[in-house]
Amino acid sequence: MENEKDVLEVRNLKINFNTYAGTVQAIRDVSFDLRKGETLAIVGESGSGKTVTTRSIMGLNSPNAVIDSGTIMFKGQDLLKKSRKQMDQIRGRDIAEIFQDPMTSLDPTMKIGKQIAEPLIIHKGMKREKAYAQALEMMKLVGIENAEQRINNYPHQFSGGMRQRIVIAIALVNYPEILIADEPTTALDVTIQAQILDLMKELQAKTNTSIIFITHDLGVVAGMADRVAVMYAGKIVEYGTVDEIFYNPKHPYTWGLLNSMPTMDTGGTELPSIPGTPPDLLDPPVGDAFAARNKYALKIDTEKQPPFFKVSDTHYAATWLLDKRAPKVTPPEPIIERQKHYAELVHQEIDKSKGNHVEEQEEQL
């Protein structure tokens, strides 16, 4: 899957944490690519390993983390082999990150102008005046009004939404190749949330930055992402384009996630959440980690981890249900609806371009 357009290639990443209770296998063999200018969403329940994955791209995992295996290739070099000093130079210049809570992400005792200018001063060796001038531009770009005056304000003088704009300005001030956004809107209320997402899309169009967008809210994903990776218990269990994941999901876990997603017509009614809890990563199960919560579980799920099965060139899912020998199961009603909708979509596409048929076949990764 080597690709010209890939800016980041993560291969076979395994990360453990040493704790009092034992070794937590937080990331268990994760591989994915990030293409130039795209938005890749990583979704999954709390504790599935989304943050740990991105932290290791930044080289900022906690001290008790052990990289068991894997590579993270960026511009032809393995980030996992870089020294701390080398990573300091990459962070904030080539790869930037924005965090969940804008209320706590900014230094409360430093003027925001300086906070935005800091990455320029560190990485480009800019003089103060020049860096501040660029910081000011950046503030205007992210939509802060009266930027000239507000550059000397402190974080507490801004609302949550404004603060997240400042955090975005800090992240993008060096026009990084990659922007990691770890639940950037979870702490904001809905209208502000939409504004921030629009801003991110708008800036992405301008800067051609690739975004890794982490969330457990599938609703946000639909409007933001080009591709989606679904994580469960330290593994990616399904990935594909947004349309494929939303309208033709193959993994029962993705079904569960989609079913628990609020839509226009579910409105305020109670949503079915996936019963049960994720497995204990201190001692992960032998087979498919999702088996215990999967009502479609097969015997083999308790014995062997499923490989990725190819659904289309861009769509893969790791579930034994896609094996030729597996019985045909009927997904939950709403998923069938989605798949019908997807079939229509694909037909329209085929009519347009006379493309290939979607074919299910096993693929070794």
């Binding site: 962070r91 992400s105 409360p108 005792t109």
Partner: protein, 306 residues
């Protein structure tokens, strides 16, 4: 700001008024008079002396006279040194106390900041453990024990510093060290907790994501944010120093107000005790006011205009 200051000063005056009142009436309850120790006096002599101290008037008149005096900086006459006004006794002794107290505070706080910051930066290593041991020891060993040990080992044995008396910087070294121990330990503890907190905060995480190196993070973000709250413990530390100075000044025979306070207690010199009580409270009020103002100035989140 002016409004805030006015309000604070009003409360200080109110506090000092209450303190003076309580002290005055407590002293009226005291057993013993200035004459307890001098038995052989004729009734006329006694009357003479009572008149001299104003003790022949009714209590409420004495109280008003006393309050009126305080406003003019007059705390009455000492029982112990019959002709000395208490205000003179105190003012002439304030200097040495302020010098060793101030030095002890500055040394203790600065050293404490270093010990605490190093402990936090090297958290959960042997450096941190040593820093913690230093603070526990200095918090636990009473100042009067430390003072005696310093006097004996550094003064008498090694002859590095004079063992007692007053007269120049060298004389201040040992008392300063003895007084600095407690603020050092308290500051180190506070600073460590504060900085460990700051270092695990989101904005430090963001600073790392910017590509700032460890030194940059500590220098530009962590230090200032953990230093600011230290201002809030200066008041309590000043109290520690006042307490400590009473024994330390005694041990090193320093002519300060701490030594005077203990002497006055032991000789039932009520006017001096009352005067010193008010002076101690006033000093504490001023320290608290200054630290609050400084806190407001250095922490952008706090605005003094309530």
């Amino acid at each position: 700001m002016a409004k805030y200051l006015g309000k604070r000063i009003f409360y200080i005056i109110l506090t000092l008024f209450i303190v003076s009142t309580i002290t005055f009436f407590l002293m009226k309850l005291m057993p013993g008079t200035p004459l307890t120790n001098q038995a052989k006096l004729t009734p006329t002599q006694i009357h003479q002396i009572y008149k001299q101290y104003g003790l022949d008037k009714p209590v409420w008149q004495q109280y008003l006279v006393y309050l009126g005096g305080i406003i003019h900086g007059n705390f009455g006459t000492s029982f112990q040194f019959s002709n000395q006004p208490v205000s003179y006794l105190i003012s002439s002794r304030l200097g040495p106390s302020l010098i060793i107290g101030g030095q002890g505070m500055v040394l203790g706080v600065l050293a404490g900041l270093v010990v605490g910051a190093v402990g936090a930066i090297k958290a959960n290593t042997w450096v941190d453990t040593s820093a913690t041991i230093i603070s526990i020891l200095f918090i636990s060993i009473p100042s009067f024990v430390l003072a005696v040990l310093l006097q004996y080992y550094l003064g008498l044995k090694l002859r590095l510093f004079p063992i007692a008396d007053w007269g120049g910087f060298m004389y201040t070294v040992l008392p300063t060290l003895a007084l600095a121990a407690s603020p050092l330990a308290e500051t180190a503890r506070f600073m460590r907790t504060e900085m460990v907190d700051v270092l695990s905060s989101d904005y430090i995480e963001l600073a790392k994501a910017k590509g700032l190196n460890k030194v940059g993070i500590i220098y530009h973000h962590a230090l200032r944010n953990s230093l600011i709250p230290v201002v809030t413990i200066i008041g309590p530390l000043a109290v520690n120093i006042m307490t400590g100075s009473m024994v330390v000044e005694n041990i090193f025979s320093i002519p300060g107000i701490g030594e005077q306070f203990v002497k006055s207690i032991l000789t039932n010199d009520y006017p001096t005790i009352m005067g010193l009580t008010i002076v101690y409270s006033a000093m504490l009020c001023v320290v608290l006011l200054i630290t609050d103002i400084v806190y407001g100035l250095i922490d952008p989140r706090i605005r003094i205009n309530k």
